[in-house]
Assembly symmetry: C2
Homo-oligomer: 217 residues x 2
């Protein structure tokens, strides 16, 4: 194992609904786009991690990343680190890079948080009386944010001036949390399909699924 | 107005609960730490913005940033842009910078989303039957995440190896969304107080309040 060996954390077992959805997918996707080999440190979603993993990823989440130089966690931070380190997956001009960084953060902080309750409350709190009315109340914000994304994308292929880490995250979020709302926006449907058709995405998805060799313990 | 003039968007009027809470505060704080003068482009929270503002900030939010070179939106993206451009407010070694970037993203994506419903559902949905039980159901996650932040901070002054943009965001989030939960963690209380005592924060807060010269229209 060389000093520059890349290791990311991932799961060896997750419940059915999470297969192909865990966030190591976006890091794997970026690594495939960059042509960088990596190894995985596999955890089990059903068991608690030990203190050494918490020192690497304080919230006991996946993914965390390390190479010969740094340890880093949070998928957005890892993507930005990789793009800057390898001078790829981000526009090289200042204005284009600023737009990609804006959308990287907007995806995580203004798009996903609006969509997430719509997708997750039924999954995790569907048995509670408050879930359905909460989702109904939060729907206008979610639909409004999705419309702004559709307007900003327009008829462009990618959200910044070229394919970037912002697209990796935005397409991941549309895939995981877009639900039926996305069907109102043909350009977002085409954008998502364009991203998911990339060979690097397909390899990343297969690699995540291939690592699911564990049992729930 | 020179080509390098910095402009950020902010509000000339917000409802009472939002005074001193709007996110241009973190960008003002960073600019004060960097000693960079800026001007504000003032909006009114009660009125809809026009297409030119949507082209700058697609979600009609505050803040957006421009200088002679770039336009950028999302407070996290603006902070990271400023830190990288001016080689300040981020550790200069790769490992320290990675830790600060991890926490910048973790604050926005793993801490704030867990705390936010606890703070905001009572404010925006308190009149609905689902609000209180939703908050009760979501409380364990919020308390758990806050405990992980407290553990990671330990007895250090700042969350990475030195004061950084990650502290600006984390202290902002603890101040706005920490509520009574933070009282369980003396080190987080001291950390928040340490940040809010910085002269740059005080100047930033005063500047945001001073700009509130408008009426709700």
């Amino acid at each position: 194992m060389s000093g520059n060996q890349i290791t990311i954390s991932a799961f060896e077992w997750v419940p059915e609904f999470a297969k192909g959805q865990v966030r190591d997918l976006v890091v794997r996707w970026a690594l495939e786009e960059l042509g960088l080999p990596y190894q995985t440190y596999l955890l089990n979603a059903a068991t608690a991690r030990d203190a050494s993993y918490i020192a690497w990823q304080p919230f006991d989440q996946v993914p965390a990343y390390r190479d010969g130089e740094v340890e880093i966690f949070e998928s957005g931070a890892i993507l930005l680190y990789l793009a800057e380190k390898h001078s790829k997956l981000l526009p090289s001009d200042a204005a284009g890079k600023a737009r990609a960084m804006s959308w990287l953060f907007a995806t995580l902080n203004s798009v996903e948080p609006a969509l997430r309750p719509i997708a997750l409350y039924p999954l995790f709190h569907g048995d509670k009386d408050w879930s359905a009315p909460a989702v109904a109340s939060l729907m206008p914000l979610a639909e409004g944010r999705l419309k702004r994304v559709a307007d900003a994308l327009g008829n462009k292929d990618w959200i910044a001036t070229e394919f970037s880490v912002a697209d990796i995250l935005l397409i991941f979020v549309l895939r995981s949390f877009g639900g039926e709302m996305i069907n109102d926006h043909p350009n977002l449907l085409a954008y998502r399909a364009r991203g998911l058709a990339r060979p690097a995405f397909k390899r990343a998805l297969q690699a995540q699924l291939d690592d699911l060799t564990g049992s729930p313990v």
